[in-house]
């Protein structure tokens, strides 16, 4: 099963993101901050998608994305940032750092799923897959 890593210091956000991703067929592992996420990534090469918050203790989302993009193993790993930062310049910073997509909080399932589709992420269960 396709595995997604959700990184957010808010348990409520992690649960919400997990529910959305499970509903389209992902298996989900969770991390509470960037350093924890890096540990998980180093220990599991089957992670196919990263969904990450910006502001977190220990290591924030921006630092995590930069660290990931420096490593050739993860240079094509799809990364979606889901954050309460809604300023255009801040969003541009996240994209410059290596985020492939960006969802502004508050978010819901259709928002995240629509962004995954536009990113070209193959959803294990997809009602909009078109002709195959």
């Amino acid at each position: 099963m396709a595995l997604a890593l959700v990184v957010d210091d808010s348990r409520a956000s992690r649960i919400a993101l997990q529910r959305i991703l499970i509903s389209v067929g992902f298996d989900v592992v969770e991390a509470e901050h960037g350093a924890h996420a890096l540990e998980l990534l180093h220990g599991d090469d089957t992670i196919e998608l990263l969904v990450v918050d910006w502001h977190m203790p220990v290591m924030d989302g921006l630092a995590l994305i930069k660290a990931i993009r420096k490593d050739r193993r993860w240079e094509t790993l799809p990364i979606v940032m889901v954050s309460a930062e809604v300023d255009q310049k801040q969003i541009a910073r996240a994209v410059m750092a290596g985020a492939d997509e960006y969802v502004m909080k508050p978010f819901d399932g259709p928002m995240l799923i629509s962004k995954l589709r536009s990113l070209g992420v193959t959803l294990p269960i997809d009602l909009e897959a078109g002709l195959r």
């Binding site: 928002m111 995240l112 962004k115 002709l131």
Partner: protein, 243 residues
């Protein structure tokens, strides 16, 4: 036209339960547009020819702006040289005004608008996002009642009639489709419907597979169909049904 509801398993509720307009809804349709349809049309009509794409039920503007964005990104020269026109019509004048203004809320741009398009083609204004002048200039937004006269509708190369007819009865759907086939769609043009909508060949259309999407094209016109059929199709729907 027959309608068949898509299966909606309970476990998909979290992700899929929305009827809100979204940018790039049914993404494969937009890929078909830029990867197959427009290259084919440009090749057939010449590099200098203009293209007109019609979104007859544009709502708040997500669909016509998705079309404009997709074409702008894939064929910037078409937009630079003013050879793309996206006609966006709707029954509601307020929705037409919104479309013309190109102003979208944070929630709306969160639904399906790729972040790179957002950063490149929109400017933040408070909590709203406003489409660039270049993008707005591509959009020609006008009020139009699909059941009335269509004086503002020119010949079009592509029509996006996705989920716009679902509330209408079968005869009215067919009359609208006939008018598009006879009076609007250029030869070689494409009609896109919603993913759960279909029309059959006995209604004068032929189905084409374009990438992972389906489009419809006009079957060759009968040799002697008479002017009566053409003039009936040109009438407003209410009169057409009565005649």
């Amino acid at each position: 036209m027959s309608q068949m509801p898509a299966p909606t398993p309970a476990h998909l509720d979290v992700a899929e339960a929305t009827n809100e307009p979204s940018f790039f809804r049914d993404l494969h349709t937009f890929r078909a547009l830029t990867e197959y349809v427009i290259p084919e049309l440009v090749s057939a009509r010449g590099a200098a020819a203009g293209l007109t794409i019609w979104c007859p039920a544009c709502a708040g503007g997500q669909e016509p702006y998705s079309v404009a964005l997709a074409v702008t990104e894939a064929f910037p020269e078409l937009v630079r040289n003013s050879r793309l026109r996206v006609l966006a019509t709707d029954l509601s004048p307020s929705l037409v005004d919104r479309t013309r203004a190109g102003r979208f809320t944070q929630r709306e741009v969160n639904l399906g608008l790729p972040v790179r398009h957002l950063l490149r083609h929109f400017q933040q204004d408070g909590t709203d996002w406003v489409a660039s002048r270049q993008l707005r200039q591509v959009i020609d937004a006008r009020p139009l009642d699909l059941l009335g006269f269509w004086p503002a509708v020119p010949r079009c190369d592509v029509v996006f009639l996705r989920d716009a007819l679902t509330s209408l009865n079968r005869d009215t759907q067919r009359t609208i489709l006939d008018r598009i086939r006879r009076d609007v769609l250029r030869p070689g043009g494409h009609l896109f419907l919603g993913p759960n909508e279909t029309i059959t060949s006995d209604e004068g259309w032929t189905r084409r597979i374009v990438g992972r999407a389906l489009s419809y094209a006009s079957l060759p016109a009968p040799a002697v169909s008479g002017s009566a059929a053409r003039s009936a199709a040109s009438l407003p729907i209410t009169q057409g049904l009565r005649s």
